[in-house]
Every structure is written in structure tokens, then in C-alpha cells.
């Protein structure tokens, strides 16, 4: 049992601490939770719940925001 697990973040494999929450994941990536929307295994996780949801090995996490577009 290692202290870290592999998850997919925006299509890239990332190593995160076992038991980390989504909020901790955002912090480790230096992302402001106020400007990022989080999708966890295809389900949107609202901001107030980001600290409640822990990630598991193989989870697919998408972190999106607004960019320029028409």
C-alpha cells in the first residue's frame, strides 16, 4: 500500500496522495476553486462539496474553465 495513487486529470495521468479530496487536488495544482469547474467520473461536483469528495485510483477528473470563444 503506497501513499499515492494514480488518477487521470484532464486526460493526463497524475499522482496524488491517497485519500486526497478534490479540493486538495486543486490546491496541489495551484488552481483557484472559484474559477474552475470540477467533473469527477462524469459527475459535476459543486464547489461546497469539493472538500468532501476523495479521489480513488483510476478516477477521471476534468478541470475546466472559460476561455475565449465565439
Amino acid at each position: 500500500m503506497t501513499d499515492s495513487i494514480d488518477v487521470m486529470v484532464n486526460g493526463e495521468q497524475r499522482r496524488v496522495a491517497r485519500g486526497a479530496t478534490l479540493l486538495e487536488l486543486l490546491r496541489s495544482l495551484e488552481l483557484d476553486p472559484r474559477v474552475v469547474v470540477v467533473e469527477h467520473n462524469r459527475a459535476i461536483v459543486r464547489r461546497p462539496r469539493l472538500g468532501d469528495v476523495t479521489v480513488a485510483p483510476g478516477d477521471a477528473i476534468e478541470l475546466v474553465h472559460f476561455v475565449g470563444g465565439g
Partner: protein, 265 residues
């Protein structure tokens, strides 16, 4: 606003229960840099500004987030589902956009063809129905086909957005008749989206009686985006005002403007 324009009373521009002061909506894509984008948007006078939903760049090689350059308290952010080729994808993007917490409006695009970026009508209708049921105010990017527009209205869309010509083409208004017909038959606002290339295109489009125009590339790809944004603002106002004023009838023969009487022998 000049006194002459004041004499023509326009109806408010209301979409999805919200009143907007400008009939020109602008996109935020493809600008050379964000400073020019911000100045162009300012010059356009637009209130509704479209944005796209994309992955955050995790390695931070570039800061792509638009909210660093656009004050969300000053503009109405209209998220799009650009790049989506299926109804499911479009619904997914729309839900992610709504979660950003600004509003429940979405500019729905379901693209059916890579080369022309023309809409997939079936996917568009499916996604529109799902999103309306889910509480969204859907502004649906559509082709200039009347029946599609009617179905989108039936589906509960807050506005229908027929194209002037393909996205990013700058070819101008290719089917004025189609656009006029849609405007005549629909009760919801009709906002022409895509294809406007220069100010005259915007003016002619507004003269068809549509409620507004959304454009992006016409500004972003102009030599001087800020200058073009100013021109577009004037053109949209000019076209709208001309529509309200009512154009003269066309004649196939000349009709003299000066009196025929009083000519010398």
C-alpha cells in the same frame, strides 16, 4: 445617441426574460492578445459576451482563462458549446458552464460537419429539449432553415440564432429571405450568429428586422479590431434604426426627385 435616433422608439431587447441594452453580442475567441480583445469589446458596446468551456492548462505554460481579462460583473457571460458534435457532449459542456455560476443561459452549438461547421439539426433539437427541461435558457445556433427554427422554438429555446454564413467565413448575409422568414414566423428573438464580415454585413442583417447579431471573427480578425468593433456598433444601430424607419419601396425604373413642372421652354 442622437436626437434623430431618439425619435424612433424601439422595443426592448429581451432574451429569456432578461433585457439587454445592446443588440450586438460579441465573442472572445481568436484575438491577437487579451488587451486588444478587452478594448474591442468595450468599443463594441456589447453587453453579452460569449465564452467557451475548455480544460484548464495544468502545466500553466499559458494562462488561457478569460476571466482574468474580462470583468464578469460588467458583462453578461454567455457560454457556448462550440466544438461539440453530439447532443450528449453539448449537454455536458452546458452543465459544466452553468456550474461556473454566472447564469443559466447557453449558446447551444451541435456541429454536424467539420468543414462547414453547419449544425447537426437532429442533435441540436435533442440537446435543446434536454437543456430546456433542465432549466437552461437556450440560444440555439442554427442554419437559416425555417422549419428547424420553428422546431427549436417549439422545443422551448429562448432565442434562435440562424447563421448569416458559415462560422468564421466572413461571407456576410447569404440568405436574407431565409432570415426574414424566420424572423416573421418566430415569436422568440432571432439573433443572427456567424458569418458577418464587415459593417455593411451587420447593417444589412439588422435591416432584415432581426433582434440582434452575434459576431466574433469579424472583430478579432480585422486589421484593427477596436476600430471594427466601433464600426459594428454603429452598423448594428444604423441597421436597426433603418429597419424601424422603414425603407422606401424599390422601383425598376427611375422616379424623379425634382418637380417635372416649372421647366423652361
Amino acid at each position: 445617441m442622437t436626437a434623430a435616433v431618439d425619435t424612433i422608439r424601439d422595443t426592448p431587447f429581451v432574451v429569456g426574460g432578461r433585457t439587454f441594452h445592446s443588440r450586438l453580442m460579441v465573442g472572445t475567441g481568436k484575438y491577437r492578445d487579451n488587451e486588444i480583445m478587452a478594448r474591442a469589446i468595450e468599443a463594441s458596446g456589447a453587453e453579452v459576451v460569449t465564452v467557451a468551456v475548455r480544460r484548464v492548462d495544468l502545466d500553466r505554460s499559458k494562462e488561457t482563462g478569460i476571466l482574468h481579462h474580462l470583468d464578469p460583473s460588467r458583462f453578461f457571460l454567455l457560454a457556448n458549446t462550440a466544438g461539440c458534435f453530439t447532443a450528449d457532449d453539448a449537454v455536458r459542456y452546458a452543465r459544466l458552464a452553468r456550474e461556473a455560476g454566472f447564469n443559466e443561459f447557453v449558446k447551444l452549438e451541435v456541429i454536424g460537419d467539420q468543414e462547414t461547421l453547419l449544425p447537426d439539426v437532429q442533435g441540436l433539437l435533442d440537446a435543446a429539449r434536454t437543456l430546456v427541461k433542465d432549466g437552461f435558457k437556450v440560444l440555439a445556433y442554427s442554419n437559416e432553415d425555417l422549419v428547424t427554427a420553428l422546431r427549436l422554438e417549439d422545443a422551448g429555446c429562448a432565442a434562435v440564432m440562424p447563421l448569416a454564413s458559415p462560422i468564421g467565413s466572413g461571407l456576410g448575409l447569404l440568405n436574407p429571405y431565409g432570415i426574414r422568414t424566420i424572423k416573421r414566423r418566430l415569436s422568440v428573438p432571432v439573433v443572427v450568429d456567424a458569418g458577418v464580415g464587415t459593417a455593411s454585413d451587420a447593417c444589412v442583417t439588422m435591416e432584415q428586422g432581426v433582434d440582434g447579431i452575434l459576431m466574433n471573427t469579424a472583430l478579432a480578425a480585422a486589421r484593427d479590431p477596436v476600430g471594427m468593433a466601433h464600426a459594428m456598433r454603429l452598423a448594428v444601430e444604423a441597421g436597426r434604426t433603418a429597419y424601424l424607419a422603414g425603407r422606401m419601396p424599390k422601383h425598376e425604373v427611375a422616379v424623379p426627385s425634382s418637380p417635372l413642372e416649372g421647366m423652361l421652354d
